[in-house]
């Protein structure tokens, strides 16, 4: 198993613990990651609001870098996988458009031929590692830890672009949580938006969305939330102290990155996984699992 690794801006920025946790679990999973150091930002759907062809060209460069090495791309971000796959679909679908974009790659000696696929660590765990094999690697079962999966929009929708899970009733995160010995919580907000994209523009609406999800998870007895998306993590964890003023409720909900949860179950040191780096205290989760 070898992938071109696209960590994305947030795992290299405000969520460095996501990057270190991913790199820590990879060798245990038999996963070789070749980081695409030259790959630009995926555009996050934001550059598309100004210049969609520019965003597609950045992503074509990323695909060309992976294609040169004969590798597919793996991300650890719901937003990155969605943006990259959307660009890839447009580029693979129309040869005239691919040619238009390639004109901007050729000055640096590159070209994308349309042969790269994009996936996410979540789907690598299911499709490449395999759940049975993952289960056999568990050294420190999660002891029925009640985890509320929170997917992040782009990893599911639109299914025409994603197609890796059911967009309305997904099960991937749940199956991974179960394989690690945790107990997934089923709740409506698990596929909804965390509100992050409009934190600056419309703070009240953004934090109400995040609060609705965290609140429902808490009401159903979740001990933590688990997300494959660092942008969701920013709104659910980093901004959690600012949510109560809009919802009138405090949550104290730890929010765990997917590879951190995997790492915990595989027996890694919680510090190495960066679990002390969150804004919301994760020690209850850690002691619940590690104490055993």
């Amino acid at each position: 198993m070898k992938y071109a690794y696209f960590p994305g801006c947030v795992a290299r920025g405000n969520c460095p613990e996501l990057n270190s946790a991913t790199l820590a679990i990879a060798p245990l999973l038999g996963l070789e990651l070749v980081e695409l150091a030259e790959a630009p930002c995926c555009g996050a759907g934001v550059i598309n609001s100004q210049n969609p062809v520019l965003a597609d060209t950045y992503n074509a460069k990323t695909f060309a870098l992976a294609e040169e090495q004969g590798l597919n791309v793996m991300t650890v971000c719901s937003t990155c996988i969605g943006s990259l796959r959307k660009s890839n679909k447009r580029l693979q679908g129309q040869s005239a458009y691919l040619e238009q974009v390639n004109q901007h790659l050729r000055p640096s000696g590159r070209e994308y031929h349309g042969n790269v696929d994009v996936t996410h660590l979540l789907y690598v765990l299911i499709n490449d590692v395999g759940l049975d094999s993952l289960r056999s690697m568990v050294k420190r079962p999660l002891q029925g830890l009640r985890c509320a999966p929170f997917y992040g929009c782009f990893i599911l929708r639109p299914s025409e672009v994603m197609g890796l899970d059911d967009p309305e009733h997904p099960t991937s995160l749940e199956r991974v949580i179960e394989a690690l010995g945790g107990k997934p919580i089923d709740y409506w907000h698990k596929t909804r938006c965390c509100g992050f994209p409009i934190t600056l523009e419309n703070e009240a609406a953004s934090f109400k969305m995040a609060g609705a999800a965290i609140g429902e998870a808490k009401d159903l007895g979740a001990e933590c939330m688990v997300t494959p998306c660092p942008l969701c993590h920013m709104n659910l964890d980093m901004q959690q102290p600012r949510i109560p003023r809009h919802t009138g409720r405090t949550y104290n909900m730890p929010v765990i990155h997917l590879p951190q949860l995997v790492g915990l179950a595989l027996g890694l040191d919680p510090k190495q996984l960066g679990l002390h780096k969150h804004i919301m205290d994760t020690s209850a989760v850690v002691s619940r699992v590690v104490a055993h």
Binding site: A37, C41, K61, C193, I198, M209, A212, P241
Partner: protein, 319 residues
């Protein structure tokens, strides 16, 4: 097909204090749609059930409702595709609208917002000749061909995340309609339309969650229409809003560094806004202490950033 238990949302404002679910159990005929099942309930089991339906061909837009929590036209939804593992199907009215009775939602707010975007042509030029229609070439129609397929069923509004938290938001259907007329070459009021649409509740309040793209039973993809409205607004230099600055600053940072530097984005997007900046200060400080934000680190850059800068330079004008 086996027995299915339908859990149907019931509410009669004249007699019920609050809504409840009523269960109906039967074996639908092979090939039944969810609407066929509702008709069976009404015609054979319980004629008090209220819901809207008409064409049964996904054209009239009457029968949008939530099946297992997500909006669909029930006339084009095969029941065998939505039965849950426990043999149930849950049916609710569309979301984000008040309920009048059972499965019937009040669409008044939907129509008010639709009217607010002036869903009609406002030409400023006279027609090509007296008593003649405004003509349109096929290429010009293609600019909004998909958006023109909207049947105003309200499915996208039902599942819109932004609307759930902000009733002021115009919502996906009205904004897609606004794009349809802003993109029409016969219309003469694009700039004025866009000026209204950049206000609070307009194009910048969409979270881009793709719920509307997923749920639309036609090919409107409202969120994509909203992105096109944003591109139009930025082209027309309507850049004085946090949403617009967020996009232009984001694009600028990536064009210079190849990667987003989150230390730069919020400050520049907010513009001169001491209140908002102060509001963010405690969380920012906590993030510094946790090592999430590292103020002393040199600006983030990708390897070989000159190539990204070249691509950005070549394409800045949007060609």
């Amino acid at each position: 097909m086996a027995d299915i238990r339908f859990q149907v949302h019931r509410f009669n404002p004249e007699t019920d204090e609050k809504p409840y679910y009523q269960e109906y159990q039967f074996t639908p005929l092979e090939g039944s749609t969810v609407l066929d099942c509702l008709n069976y309930i009404k015609w054979h089991l319980d004629d008090t059930l209220a819901y809207r339906m008409s064409c049964r061909s996904a054209i009239c837009g009457s029968c949008a409702m939530r099946v297992n929590g997500h909006a669909k036209l029930v006339c084009q939804t095969q029941v065998k595709n939505v039965v849950r593992p426990d043999g149930t199907v849950r049916i609710d009215p569309v979301g984000n609208m008040p309920v009048l009775k059972d499965l019937i939602a009040d669409m008044h707010g939907f129509w008010t917002k639709m009217q607010a975007v002036k869903p009609y042509l406002m030409p400023t030029q006279p027609p090509p000749s007296a008593n003649q229609e405004y003509l349109q070439l096929p290429e010009a129609f293609r600019l909004f061909e998909e958006e023109a397929t909207c049947i105003m069923c309200g499915a996208c509004v039902s599942d819109c995340t932004s609307l759930e938290s902000d009733k002021q938001f115009l919502g996906p259907a009205a904004l897609a309609k606004a794009y349809r007329f802003s993109a029409d070459t016969r219309d003469g009021r694009r700039h004025e339309r866009l000026e209204e649409l950049i206000e609070r509740g307009g194009m910048w309040d969409c979270v881009r969650c793709n719920e509307c793209v997923q749920t639309c039973p036609k090919t409107v993809a409202p969120m994509e229409a909203i992105l096109k409205l944003r591109q139009m607004a930025l082209k027309e230099r309507l850049t004085d809003s946090i949403g617009a600055r967020h996009v232009t600053v984001f694009t600028d940072i990536v064009g210079r560094r190849g990667i987003l530097d989150e230390r730069e984005l919020p400050v520049r997007s907010l513009g001169f806004n001491p209140v908002k900046l102060l509001g963010m200060a405690p969380v920012a400080l906590q993030s510094v202490l946790k090592g999430k934000i590292r103020p002393l680190e040199p600006p983030h850059k990708v390897k070989g950033v000159e190539d990204v800068q070249r691509i950005h330079r070549e394409m800045e004008d949007g060609s």
